[in-house]
C-alpha cells in the first residue's frame, strides 16, 4: 500500500493514495472504502497511475463542513484534478463514489477518457427504493451489501477503540450529509445523464441487493452508448468480491479508449 499524502484542494485537506504507472485514473471509493488500498487498486496500478483520494470525512480526510450536497463533492474532485494539473483522466467510482463520478461526468465529460461506474447509487429508479443502510446493524448491513460475506472482512475496522468508532461515525455522518434524504440519490441527476459523452462501462454485481440489476438497466438507458457488464459472483461491491475480474475488465475497457487529444 502506498503511503498516503496530504494535499489541499481549495482549502480542503485531502488524504490521497497514489501508485502505479500509466495514464492517470481517478478512483472514488464507496462508503467505508476511504483510505484503503485493496487488491482492486493494486491490480489497476499495474496499468494506470491510480489516484485514490478519501472523501472529506472518510478515511484520513477530515470532515468538510461546507459540503452540503452531492454536487459539492463532484466540484471538489474537479478542483482536485485542477490542483494536480490533470487535464484528462480515466474516472472510476464504486457505489457512493460512482454517484459522485456520474455527477462529475454530467458536468465535465470532456475531461474523462472513460467512465467506469461500479454499482452506483444516485438516481431514482421506478419500482425500487434503496434499503435504508443507516438503520441496519452490522449483520443485516453485510447481508445487504455483500453476496460473498467473506469479502466484507476487507472493510472490517482494525479495532473497536473510541477513535475507530468515532471515525466510523464521522464517515457515516459525511455520507448522511448528502445522502439521507433524498436517500442515496439526486432527483436532478437522472435527466442529466444524457449529457455524458464519455465512453461508459457499468460494472454490476448480479446479486446486488442495494441497487439491483433493475437499476443497472436504468443507468444503461440514460447514458448514451453505455456498456453493461455483469459479475456473476458479486453483490453490491464487485470490485471487492471479484477484484481480479473487475480490475481486468476496467483495464481492458479504459485502455481501449485512450484519450483523443
Amino acid at each position: 500500500m502506498p503511503e498516503p499524502s496530504r494535499i489541499t484542494v481549495r482549502d480542503t485537506p485531502v488524504d490521497l493514495l497514489r501508485d502505479g504507472s500509466g495514464p492517470p485514473l481517478l478512483f472514488l471509493h464507496g462508503a467505508g472504502g476511504g483510505g484503503r488500498w485493496l487488491t482492486f487498486q493494486e491490480r489497476l496500478a499495474g496499468r494506470f497511475d491510480v489516484l485514490a483520494p478519501s472523501h472529506p470525512g472518510h478515511g484520513g480526510s477530515p470532515a468538510a463542513e461546507w459540503i452540503e450536497h452531492i454536487s459539492d463533492l463532484a466540484f471538489h474532485y474537479l478542483d482536485l484534478l485542477d490542483t494536480l494539473g490533470l487535464d484528462r483522466v480515466h474516472l472510476a467510482g464504486a457505489s457512493f463514489g460512482g454517484w459522485i463520478a456520474a455527477e462529475m461526468a454530467t458536468m465535465a465529460s470532456h475531461r474523462f477518457d472513460s467512465l467506469v461506474l461500479i454499482d452506483p447509487v444516485g438516481i431514482k429508479v421506478e419500482g425500487w427504493i434503496y434499503p435504508f443502510l443507516f438503520g441496519m446493524e452490522l449483520p443485516q448491513l453485510v447481508a445487504t451489501v455483500f453476496h460473498n460475506p467473506m469479502a466484507a472482512l476487507a472493510l472490517a475496522p482494525p479495532d473497536m477503540s473510541i477513535d475507530t468508532l468515532a471515525l466510523l461515525y464521522r464517515q457515516n455522518t459525511a455520507l448522511a450529509r448528502v445522502g439521507w434524504n433524498p436517500y442515496l440519490y439526486n432527483p436532478l441527476l437522472r435527466r442529466r445523464l444524457a449529457r455524458i459523452a464519455t465512453p461508459t462501462l457499468l460494472a454490476w454485481g448480479a446479486h446486488d441487493r442495494l441497487a439491483p440489476l433493475v437499476c443497472a438497466e436504468a443507468w444503461r438507458k440514460e447514458i448514451p452508448g453505455a456498456t453493461l457488464r455483469v459479475f456473476e459472483d458479486s453483490g453490491h461491491v464487485p470490485h471487492l468480491e471479484e477484484p481480479e475480474a473487475v480490475a481486468a475488465a476496467v483495464g481492458e475497457f479504459c485502455l481501449a479508449r485512450k484519450g483523443t487529444p
Partner: protein
Amino acid sequence: MKFYYFHLMPYVMDHDEPSSWVTLSNRHYDPAVGHTLYHQYLDQLEFAEALGWDGICVNEHHQNCYGTMPSPNVMAAMLVRRTTRAKIAILGNGLPLRENPLRIAEEIAMLDVVSGGRIVSGFVRGIGAEYYSTAVNPTHSRERFYEAADLILRAWTEPGPFAFDGKFYRYPFVNPWPRPLQQPHPPVWCPSQGSSETVEWAAKRRFPYLMVFTPLKRIAQIYGEYREACERNGYTASPYQLTVNLPICVAENDRKAEAIAREHALWVYHVGLRMLPPYWQPPGYTTEASLKRLLATRGKMPTELTYEDLEEGGYIICGSPATVRDKLRVFSDELKAGIVCSGMNGGSHEATLDMMRMFSEEVMPHFRQDAAIDETASVGR
C-alpha cells in the same frame, strides 16, 4: 419545590421485536384500546391539577409504543379547556423535525392565549429515532434546532411582519396571529440529556434545563455544568431553572412500592426504550466530541438496567411516602432543583389515581415552602 405531572402516554404491551421504535409494526396498535388509554391518561393529567400539582406535561415522540403523542400540541389543546390553574408544559416540540417551525410559534401562541398564559414551551431536538421516523437529516439537527428556536422566539417577540432568511427556514413574511399572552413570550424549557452544547445554549438564555431519565450522579454533574455556564453568563441560576424528570412510585410501604415498580415502572426501560443501536445515535446527530465522551463513559443500555440499577442509581424514586420524601430531599436540598416532573404507574388507571392521591397528600405538602412563588415568573425568557 414545584411538582409537575408528566405523561408519556405509552401503549403498554409486550413484544419480542428488537425495537419498540421506528420498525415496531403499528399493526400492534389497537385503536379501541388506544381510545380507552388516551381518556385514562388525560383523566390522570386533569386529576393532577385537582390534587394540587403545579403543572402537567405532555411531550412528542414518533412511531413507537413508548409514547403515543406525535403531536403534543394536540394533547395540550385538550387539556387547556379542561383545566384552569395548572401550567401546561409541552416538553417539548421537536423543532428540527418540523418543515415549517413557524407553525410551532402559532400553535403555542394559540394555546397560551386560550389558557390565559399557562403554557410552558419546551424546545427539543427529538431523540435519534425521530430522525428515522421523520426522515429529517440528522446531520442538520443541531443547526435546524438553533435556527427554528431563533425564528420562533423572534416571531413571538418582534412586531411583524418581518422577513426571515435562514439556512433551512425562509419566510418573506413572519407575522403570526395570535401573539402569545405571556410577555415577552411563554417560558422556554430545554429538556435534554446533558450535551454540553445544549447546556451552554440554555444557560445563556436563562432557559430551565430539564434532565430526562438520567442517573442521579449525572444529573448532579450536568447541574454543576449548567450552574457554571450561568455564572459565566453573568447570573446565578434560580432553582426553577434546574428541573428533573423521573418516575415516582409510592405505596403504603417500601416493599409494596418496590413490587409495583418492578412490575410496571421497569416497562419503560425494558420495553419502551428498547431500540436498535443505530436509532440512538443517527449520523451527525451528536458532535464527535460528545460522542467520544459518551463512548468513554458508556453505561448500560436502558434494556440492561435492573431494578437495583434504577433504584440505586436514582433513575427512579420508589418507596413509602416517608422514603419518597427522603429521596426527594436529595433533589430539593442537595441538588437544589426547583421542579420535579414525574409520571406514575400503579399498574391500572385506578391504582395510578390512588398513587397520585397518596403522593399529593403525604409527600407534596412537605415541600411547599415556596407555594406562593410563580416558578415561571423570571426564568425561561
